[in-house]
Symmetry: C2
Subunit: 201 residues, 2 copies
């Protein structure tokens, strides 16, 4: 791990503390495993800091994150740390009164999710946002990349945002403070093995 | 994410279920972020499956994982899922009666940790092992790579093992079922920003 020594000291007029506490826009991309898993690991850290954390899952299947969801809901219920609010496009977003059927209109459901994130960013509802697989509605043209990037870059306060998914658009990578590419070196599916409990979900 | 369709169906005489449930040796390596964070995300999934999980931290500083440790200990205390046993080299391993001072003799402390893992693997103590930053004592020659790999490959039962750290030795990569390389594309320390609470620990 880095030993905490920055490579350069920028001439930006900020104190070390102010620079350190800048909110981060983080992207986990690439074809390998661990993009979402590492994002939920950050949610664990946020919970331990006492933060309000918002998770928005831009996937139709809810199966793949049930372990993380159960664990983070259980942590929230203990009252000993922060809170994790969990929102799933795959079940219709929880805040929508008349639910959009995500199977019928996935583009509409994705836009509805993004509009809520915009409102939450403006209201500074959360300290950490996990926007799981947001890259796909961007890739498919359901959300406007330039508008999403502009909203993220102009968000107020000290809100961290983590975005996961393959094929993150270049404008998003340019805007991000921290980008990690998860690269598949070897995967058991290559050897004919399917996903299994506790590992894939 | 993969859609669950293996690229090939191997001629190994196993049923799909037997093949799916094979224990995995997983390595998260590379210079990027998320290696350990994703491993602790797997620990979350393991907890949600009701598994006994063993974490072994091969680092001297305990600071970097306090968020995950607190969260996983809190989850264990709820009694609603599995259990996570947390062992730190940096504080002297918890099972050692007369503690080895890890500052004075880190190689001895690393070997003591590995010996306990060998005993736990033989006894099938855990269903998932997180061997955090085990690559470093391998790299520094404190542990014998061939012996470690042999022990891992011949472990009994259905025990999953996740190993994290930079510069994983080639023999370990050869032995692993799933290898992800976390590649640094962009990091705020490059722009003079130091690590911060909730993100780095």
């Amino acid at each position: 791990m880095p030993q905490g020594q920055p490579a350069v000291i920028p001439d930006d007029g900020l104190t070390t503390r102010a620079r350190r506490d800048r909110p981060l826009l983080i992207v986990h991309t690439g074809d390998g495993k661990g993009k979402s898993t590492a994002a939920f690991g950050l949610a664990l850290r946020g919970w331990a800091q006492g933060w309000p954390v918002g998770v928005f899952q831009f996937v139709k299947s809810a199966k793949w994150r049930i372990g993380e969801e159960r664990a983070l809901r259980t942590l929230t219920a203990t009252g000993e740390g922060g809170t994790v609010a969990w929102h799933k496009m795959g079940e219709g977003w929880s805040w929508v009164q008349r639910r959009i059927d995500p199977d019928a209109q996935p583009a509409d459901a994705a836009r509805e999710g993004w509009e809520q994130i915009r409102r939450d960013l403006a209201a500074q509802t959360y300290r950490l946002y996990v926007l799981d697989e947001l890259t796909y509605p961007l890739k498919w043209g359901w959300l406007d990349v330039a508008e999403v990037v502009e909203t993220l870059l102009t968000r107020p306060g000290r809100q961290h945002v983590v975005i996961t998914g393959r094929a993150a658009p270049p404008q998003l990578l340019d805007a991000a403070d921290l980008v990690t590419e998860m690269t598949k070196v070897k995967h058991p599916m290559d050897a004919g093995q399917k996903g299994q409990r506790g590992i894939e979900w």
